[in-house]
Symmetry: C2
Subunit: 255 residues, 2 copies
DNA sequence: GATTCATATTGGTCAGACCATTGTGGATGG
DNA sequence: CCATCCACAATGGTCTGACCAATATGAATC
């Protein structure tokens, strides 16, 4: 009856996780820094190499570590910074699991893209505007393929998010848009009156661009919201039930 | 010169990842479903058990899988749904890596909590309001400990997010608030005029609660924004530079 | 001095073993 | 017949040790 006995002994890979995380949170590990070799770290922490590898996989899944083989500085496991991929996979999977009803995602997207649009009117540089025009031009091609249009559409929204200059909002926007790329393409394929729809989207995109170019924040954010809402209303009926549209949402959650 | 030769052979654990992900995205795997035992899955896919385990760790890091030992239905690896933990770790690490400047995070938080407040006025149930009142009461204790106040503060904002009924927004809000719990506690400890500050926060919280209770969406979201902004202005000077406050933000990105 | 090649380093993978936890069903005893 | 207990099997967690593949480095060669 000496010690209360630890209720749950930390698992081996969690020891490694803790080692890396605490160093990152304490500012001792920065982007670009190399971790010790797996064998060495395993020896240091008194765990097996498999435990180290599982911890590394966990952090790599968060976009925090990146491993590459080979000797010298190019090889090894390093601290990295690619949050968007990780966020995208995260959203894609949880949306598919109906953890996040599509309606909820659209609502979040509106809030984020409103902010993006507002910030973009303040922060957009010439190069940002050029990227937006490029995406607009790509969508303007007559008789454009649905898939190509979808890609350019994504690129346009991503360009706005990038122009906003807020990395978190930009990454979240990218992740949301990318996580819905396939479902949206699916809806594009099934929707009727494609030509009519695409003309409307083009006009809305152009209007948003003008608002940003003219630095009219209020107009820009309202146009963005209106754009997302109307597109969603148009596409929702063609949206495959597979993607989990509002089954059990609360009464007021509709968009 | 037959095949273009795969530029990068899929790694073993990616085969497993693909196997699980495609089944989730195709709707063949739902929350609660059990995966085959690791040994069995390894055999099926022709990879080693370690490869399976690394893939499982990757998906567990996203909050998509959960493993537990033991025989029967209780043991095994199952599809799960705990996105908030995963999001929280994700944000905490990337904020610490200065991938996401704190100013950016605050801005995103404002956008999300504005939405939460608006939705809460429409969707809050009696039990949600009770949870909010409970957090308010916890913050009202005279001479309250800074750490306890911080916890109750978090609980209050989380309660609003929960009342909104949008799971994605709620999880993002929780993740953002939780990821800043330690830095905020740090700032609390260093800030001067604590009593004055905490009185102001209490009053703002109460005002937000009344707006939600009275179902005044516009007032609620404006009060929330004002609350977060003023708290941040108050705390920013005491914020440890370690947490990466706006070093290289664009000119217009200040809050 | 440039090129080539052996070598060391490092992550990626695998096989096989043992442990700890947990449910199950059969044996045991009332 | 029922309740209790226990051996056993299933499953994830961990470890060891080995080999492969990619990559940088430096020595040997031209």
């Amino acid at each position: 009856m000496t010690a209360p006995a630890p209720l749950s002994a930390p698992r081996a890979f969690e020891v490694v996780l803790e080692w890396v995380e605490s160093r990152i949170l304490a500012g001792q590990l920065h982007v670009g820094d190399l971790l010790p070799p797996e064998r060495e770290l395993a020896r240091q922490l008194g765990v097996s190499r498999s435990a180290v590898r599982e911890a590394v996989r966990t952090l790599a899944a968060q976009g925090v570590l990146r491993s590459s083989v080979g000797a010298g500085g190019a090889g090894g496991t390093a601290v990295t910074a690619v949050p968007s991929r990780a966020l995208e996979r995260f959203l894609r999977l949880h949306v598919a699991l109906a953890n996040f009803p599509v309606d909820d995602v659209i609502q979040a997207r509106i809030a984020l893209e409103r902010l993006s649009a507002r910030l973009a009117t303040a922060n957009a540089r010439a190069s940002d505007l050029a990227a937006m025009r490029e995406a607009l031009a790509a969508m303007d091609v007559a008789g454009i393929d649905k898939s190509a249009f979808n890609d350019a559409d994504t690129a346009y929204h991503v360009a706005i998010a990038g122009a906003a200059g807020n990395r978190l909002v930009a990454d979240m926007t990218v992740a949301i848009r990318e996580s819905m790329r396939l479902p949206l393409l699916d809806a594009f394929r099934n929707v009727g009156e494609w030509d009519d729809l695409v003309d409307g989207l083009r006009a809305q995109h152009q209007a948003i661009y003008r608002a940003i170019e003219e630095r009219d924040a209020d107009r820009a954010e309202d146009l963005v919201e209106e754009h997302i809402r109307s597109a969603w209303h148009r596409l929702a009926p063609s949206f495959d039930r597979r993607w989990g549209t509002s089954e059990d949402s609360r009464p007021g959650t509709q968009i």
